[in-house]
Symmetry: none
Subunit: 248 residues, 2 copies
Amino acid sequence: MSLSSLPIRIVLVATSHPGNIGAVARAMKNMGLTQLHLVAPQQFPHPEATARAAGADDLLGHAVVHQTLREAVSNCGLVIATSARQRHIPFVPYEPREGASIAVNKAHEGNVVAWVFGAERTGLTNDELAQCGMLVTIPTSEEYSSLNLAMAVQIIVYELSLAARKTTELPVSEVQLATQLEMNQFYEHLQEVLSGTGFRDHTADGHLMARVRRLFNRAQVDQNEVRILRGILSAVEDKRGVSGGGEA
Amino acid sequence: MSLSSLPIRIVLVATSHPGNIGAVARAMKNMGLTQLHLVAPQQFPHPEATARAAGADDLLGHAVVHQTLREAVSNCGLVIATSARQRHIPFVPYEPREGASIAVNKAHEGNVVAWVFGAERTGLTNDELAQCGMLVTIPTSEEYSSLNLAMAVQIIVYELSLAARKTTELPVSEVQLATQLEMNQFYEHLQEVLSGTGFRDHTADGHLMARVRRLFNRAQVDQNEVRILRGILSAVEDKRGVSGGGEA
């Protein structure tokens, strides 16, 4: 299977150096990936991006620029975060090889997959991580772990290309994953229902909805399942409507 | 096994751009390799090399400069060439992964191993290839195969570090997973709440709870999360109790 035929996009968030964007484009094209999405890049387009892209400047020309990560991944079924080793992240990280294999399989089943990289110095924020369903950490030396952004992308797209070559014909799931848009609608619906009940947030960090999102993101909810979840919420709402208001 | 304890050197032949030498040093140090050998570099030392090395400039300071490849590999037991796909090479190329595994094994047995990269535009000459015992080709897109030198080194040292680690130590999560007993209590609780709402099972196979179980099983819910889920269900119940019963 060719990587170029799969709906996998690289998403760069808040990139500082335009040269890195160019180097990423080159790394992608070397491995047969073409879809580059940029979230609020500091400088783009930029001559340095074009120079570093070398023969991959066509990817820059087709790059899609977004204001928010949420927008960049709204039609994606699987969103993968790349992050350095951290102590306080509520994910068990995957290795690049495992992550790439999962990404290729999901893309092969027709799901749009986003592989997300944060800003050079700071990486992905907690809010950005909360929008991802999987975390991949590139193993590095403990003494010196600050991998250049384009180098990190190079390793990931290399693994993606290997995974795509390996994937022969796996059994394909008939049901597509829920898109991030559908999941966000579900979270909003859940929030409405919870507000109605006066439910209090007793989590240690005070971020109940973030915890709930993380749980469902991890589960990789499919189209049927998100319908079931919405149905449950609607049933709870209707019941409240009838017993609280209808009989008054 | 740590890569830094193994006698593996990276050898760059006739490198044109000093920036690439710096980027190679950084890529090496990120993966725990320290021994950089340069054969007739066009410009070295050079401020651009130092700048691109970022925190890996110590590798540049210790880099060994040779006049010929022959000199650079004279004490090596295994010499591996990296090359793009070529028609007229008398080698069957290995994949990076296989090559890295062989390199690590040989180094572990006490052999000095050299991994050789040619000049940016021309690669290794036939004479240089003739001094190598193995050839590794990094698979790339057929349409666009010109991998940046430092990117090629990054992929190889990444594979070397994986080969050296093989026995990985995964990060351990601090929070235990919910037990099956706790999950069953949650499912029963959910079922009670749903019965109370009169929610109908509209799934194709009529097994709504089985679908819901599958979804949560996949998520591998932890102890904190199952408490949050139970809290949500209790809140829905309480609200119903007040509006449906308490005011009657």
